[in-house]
Every structure is written in C-alpha cells, then in structure tokens.
Symmetry: C2
Subunit: 356 residues, 2 copies
C-alpha cells in the first residue's frame, strides 16, 4: 500500500537541471537531459515528497493480498498518425504494454483517453481505434475503460492518446536496476533506432526516399521464452541509440553507482524486426525505458539468454552489446568499429521525433 | 481476470446514433447524445467485441486473489486552466478519484500524463502540478507514475492532463445500476451546475460579472459516513442539470428498464459547496458519472442517508430530489416549481464547457 513512486517518463540525471528554462521547450518532452531537468525541478518535488522513487517504467503497487501490480501511463503524440509499418494506435498499445513488461508484469488491462481535435475525420479515428484493438488483441490485454474529449479546431494535432495499463507481477519476479552487478552482460533484444527513423521518414524530415520500411509488429503475449521457458516480454519500438544510453547512467536507490557499459556499437541498421523485450527471474534488469530492451543478465546466463531470445519470433536479432564495468562510474562507453572508445552521453533533447 | 468493459466516458443512448457525423465535433466530447453516438459507433465495437460492458465510471478488474480493482481514466482539457475556486490540476485529481469512488472503490494510486505546448510557462506548470499534489494529498492518494510530452507551439491549448487511477473495491460492496428498484429514493449530494457556471464565467462566456465565485474543494478521503459509518466518497465538481439526467436514462445489462425519476428540480444556484458523492453497502447506485452524485437508496434508508450526508463537511446541501418510478420507462421527469412536469432529455452536446 506504499507504492514506490515512478513519476515521470524518463529517468532523470542530476546534471540535467541546467536544461530547465522559463518556458516548456520540445526538448523537455524528448526524454533526454531536458526531460530529466523538468522531472527533477517540477514533478518529483511535488509528487514524490519525502518518498524518493525508483523512476522505473511503471510504479509497483502492493495490494493487501500481497499481489503486486505494475501501473504505468504514457501519452502518444506521434505525427504523422500513420507511418510505415504502423500507427499511433499500435504505438499507444505497444508502448504501455511494454512499460508493464519492463517491470516483469503480465498486462491485465489498458485504459485509453483520447483528446480529439474538432474536425478530425471519424474514419481516421475508426482506423486508429481498430489498430489499437488489433494490437491489444494480439497482446492479449483488453482495453477496459476510456475517455474522449474534443478540443477546438487547431488546439490539438489531430488526436492525442493517453494509455494507462495495469499488470500483475508474478511472485518472486524482481526486475530492478538495484540488482545489477559488475560483470553482468548487457544484451540488445534487437535492432535499435528503426522506428524513429521510419517516423522521421514519414514526416519528410529526411531527404532519403524511405528505404527503411518497417513493419510495426504487434507485441507478443509475454509467454515466450528466455533462459529456459521463462517469460519474454514484448517491445513496442526501436530506440535512438543516443537515448538508449541514458538508462545505464541512472543510479537508483540501492543501485551500484559504478555501472558503466562497454558497448560493441548498435546493430546494423535496416533490419526489419521489432524485437522482444525480455524479463525473467534470471534477468537482473532491463534498459532502457520503452525501447527495444537491453536485458541485463548474469555472465553465466548470457549464452542461454541469447539462445532463448533468438528462438523467439521477434528476437532473431538479439545480440550481446556490452557489460557492466566499475569504471568509469555512471558513464556509457562505446567501443567503435575502429576499436576506439567514446562516451555516449545522454542527449539534451532528441533529434528524432519523440512519439511514445 | 475477465474485466467487464467500461469503455467511454459517458453512458451511451441507443437513440444517439443519429448524432454521428463525418468529422469529430465539439459535441462528441460533451457527454451527451453525440458522445454516446461516438461511443456506440466507434469505440464499443472495437474495444468491447462480444463482451458488452456495463459502461460505468470505472472498469472492475478481478484479481487472482479475489480482490477487485476499479480502473478509470480521464483527460482534462479545461480552459482557462485556472478558474474561480480551482484549476485544471485540482480537476485532474478530483475527477479520477471521483470516478473510482463512483464504483465504491478506495483510491490506491493515480497516474498523470501531461501533453504540454511548447512555450508554456514553467511557472504555470509548477502551479498546476502543485494543485495536483495538494488535491492528491488531501484525498490521500499518491500520484505514482507519469509521462510528459511536448507538442509544437499551437498544437495544444497550454496543457492537457490525462489522469488514470486504480482503487480497491472493498469486499461485499456492489454499486450497480442493476440493483436499483422501483420506489428507491434519489438523493442529490449537493448543488449542481456550480462548477460549469464558474468556468463559463472565467471564460467570459457570460455577461454576468461573476457572482458565483466558488471554492473548488479538494475531495475528502472516503472515510466519512453515510448510513451509519459507511464510507462517503468525494466528488469533484458540480454538473449541468441537463446532463445529470442522462444517468437515469441508461438501461444497463440487468438494470430495470423502467427506471424513471421524478425530480423536485435542482437546488437553488449560488451555493458554495462541492458536496460529497456517497456510496456504501446500502447505496444501490450513484448517478450520474463524474458530477455531484445522486446516490440511490432504498426508501427506508433515505432519512438515515440524508442525515449522514448532511453531517459530512461537504454534504450540508444534500437533498432528496426524486424517486424511481416505473412510468414513463427510461425517462427523467422533472416536477417544476409550479407543479407541472417536463421531460429532462439527454442533451446532444453541452452548452457549458466540457472539462472533465
């Protein structure tokens, strides 16, 4: 009954405070340092007074029965609403299912709140809603409650969807950054950056003609296999490599502050899959938030985890990308293809559109 | 694990289908017939396929332990963000707490998803967030998870807040329209219409100078008393009298389709209180959705219920306003102050701003 707080969409960085300005900027919603600054300066002081939160993807609520619920929310403001391989409707379901999965939870139910712009086509609304229903059915989670508001023409960009979800965390499952240890192996469950690239192409933000046509795959039910029959969780979207790094820079309560990862660089671009996130009793944690996941496993479980992931329909591209090192503390170091190293800093904003 | 669906913000009316147009209109978000038409035509067919929902304020999820959760969501698009007696921040908390209370649930936790417009003042954001924190603290429910998105300047009206909530429904508590019986007494827990009037005045939509200054009271913890120590739940806001009627026009699965109420007219305007909604084991149901509530109680419990409500700090204005009659079926009949009667039909849209 004393739920840990996980207010805010992104982990914050202590160094991020400098990003805060007098007015809201697009960077504040981009999930980088500016977002962290907003979280630290505005939301956490108000909502987490005296109860420092773990800032995970979802809050964990302990019920009187002892059952544990994961509870998460996300707004989806993707533009355009439809892009190669999917739509805002798919994202709105996948994103929240993924947030629950990141806590090791099995999704129980979703809610959907729509803010619609006056004049928005009913037919387009039907299509987005159908996409949501399809994604929810595939993930095996019902959309059980909702809300609709309409704002004046021009006061929304077509439509915004806010999805919340609740899920049950199986007994004994504890996915936490606090359990990560030196020497642990970091796995990427699949390619990263695909999805942002697809949306950017659909927006016309790139000169390229669009070679990266992606299939926005629906999330799987978390009944797959990682490390011997334990659950594999779905994932909604790829992730910008620069943003992905920040999860490794967080130091939550009890987390070893010396967690640095040595990466082998992101997988080659242009692959088509949306890989599964993974979380199981043997997985220590998953990074980053709402993106193709980076499960962290003990060294002696890495091979089995990779085999299990690759056996999953969405996990063919799973690859070991790094390990937890004590030095340099709190820093992600990338080993380049030329053998050099460079620091992967958390971005202030995000050059790719922030969509989910 | 088979949660009944309660998709959509408002009960729908079979006759509402005619309201649907080719594009979204403001009426679709106003909670009247047009909203019902959108719900029937778009959301329910997609999300409630084969599982007709009860269309209550919150969905009910049954957990493996046998515990029952209420789960609700709402978007808040009030303009202006601050109005006499409160702000969008207060509303965003009160509204969702109220939705949970309407199911007889004790709120466990809230989520808050913000869509912010680029250029929105950080100071204004701080104030709204402080109001949310204040309202949540008073209601005794933590805001445990959240999200922030920023959209281009002009692509939102300052800020939109989507709040979701989960609550525990105590064992044995069943608030349902299905349990309403002929002869039951309808009570208004307080004045109605105050809040919409205050917002309309703040918008300058009325020529009046603003005599209706209201105090938007925070909701109380649902530990009050109705009918002998049983919980009294909080309520967020007043309600437009015309919209209030529609709850009585619904015929949910298993509900007696002959439920008509004979009213004594709304209480006099200009009162200052935000009365508590009420729900207890002895309360049959509460109408309407997210507004000053209309608890329905058995005739022999009405006097005790009124006494209990009036003993609550927010229930001083509680009054008996009607009863359930078999005729005319599904119609709300108002007895005017002159002794005549007229039908209170569900509005197509809403002449007052739809805000929560």
């Amino acid at each position: 009954m004393r739920p840990p707080s996980s207010v805010g969409s992104r982990p914050s960085a202590g160094a991020g405070r400098a990003c805060l300005d007098e007015v809201v900027t697009l960077a504040h919603g981009a999930g980088g340092k500016a977002s962290a600054a907003l979280l630290d300066a505005v939301f956490l002081p108000a909502f987490s007074k005296g109860t420092p939160g773990t800032q995970t993807d979802a809050a964990v609520l302990e019920l009187p029965s002892g059952e544990r619920l994961a509870f998460s929310t996300d707004s989806f403001v993707v533009k355009p609403l439809r892009f190669p391989g999917g739509s805002a409707g798919h994202l709105a379901v996948h994103g929240t299912v993924n947030d629950l999965a990141m806590m090791g939870a099995r999704p129980l139910a979703l809610s959907a709140a729509f803010v619609l712009e006056e004049g928005f086509s009913i037919e387009s609304l039907r299509e987005i809603v159908a996409d949501m229903a399809e994604a929810a059915a595939t993930a095996g989670v019902p959309i059980v409650t909702g809300d609709t508001k309409v704002v004046d023409h021009g006061a929304a960009d077509g439509m915004y969807i806010s999805t919340s979800g609740v899920g049950l965390i199986p007994a004994g499952r504890e996915l936490s950054a606090a359990s990560v240890r030196e020497g642990d192996v970091v796995i990427a469950s699949g390619t990263i950056g695909d999805h942002g690239t697809a949306v950017m192409l659909a927006r016309g933000d790139l000169a390229s003609g669009g070679g990266h046509l992606l299939r926005h795959r629906p999330p799987e039910r978390p009944d797959g296999a990682l490390a011997g029959g334990r659950p594999v969780h779905p994932v909604a979207a790829g992730c910008h490599p620069g943003r992905c790094g920040h999860g490794l820079q967080r130091t939550g309560p009890g987390q070893r502050s010396d967690g640095g990862a040595r990466g082998v660089g992101p997988p080659a671009p242009g692959r088509r899959s949306q890989p599964p996130a993974s979380s199981s009793a043997s997985t220590r944690s998953t990074w980053p938030t709402r993106a193709s996941s980076w499960p962290v496993v003990a060294p002696d479980e890495a091979a089995a985890a990779l085999t299990a992931l690759r056996g999953h329909p969405l996990g063919a591209d799973a690859v070991r990308i790094g390990e937890i090192r004590p030095e340099p503390p709190g820093i992600v170091v990338l080993v380049t293809t030329f053998g050099g190293t460079r620091i992967v800093d958390m971005l202030v904003g995000d050059p790719l559109p922030r969509i989910c």
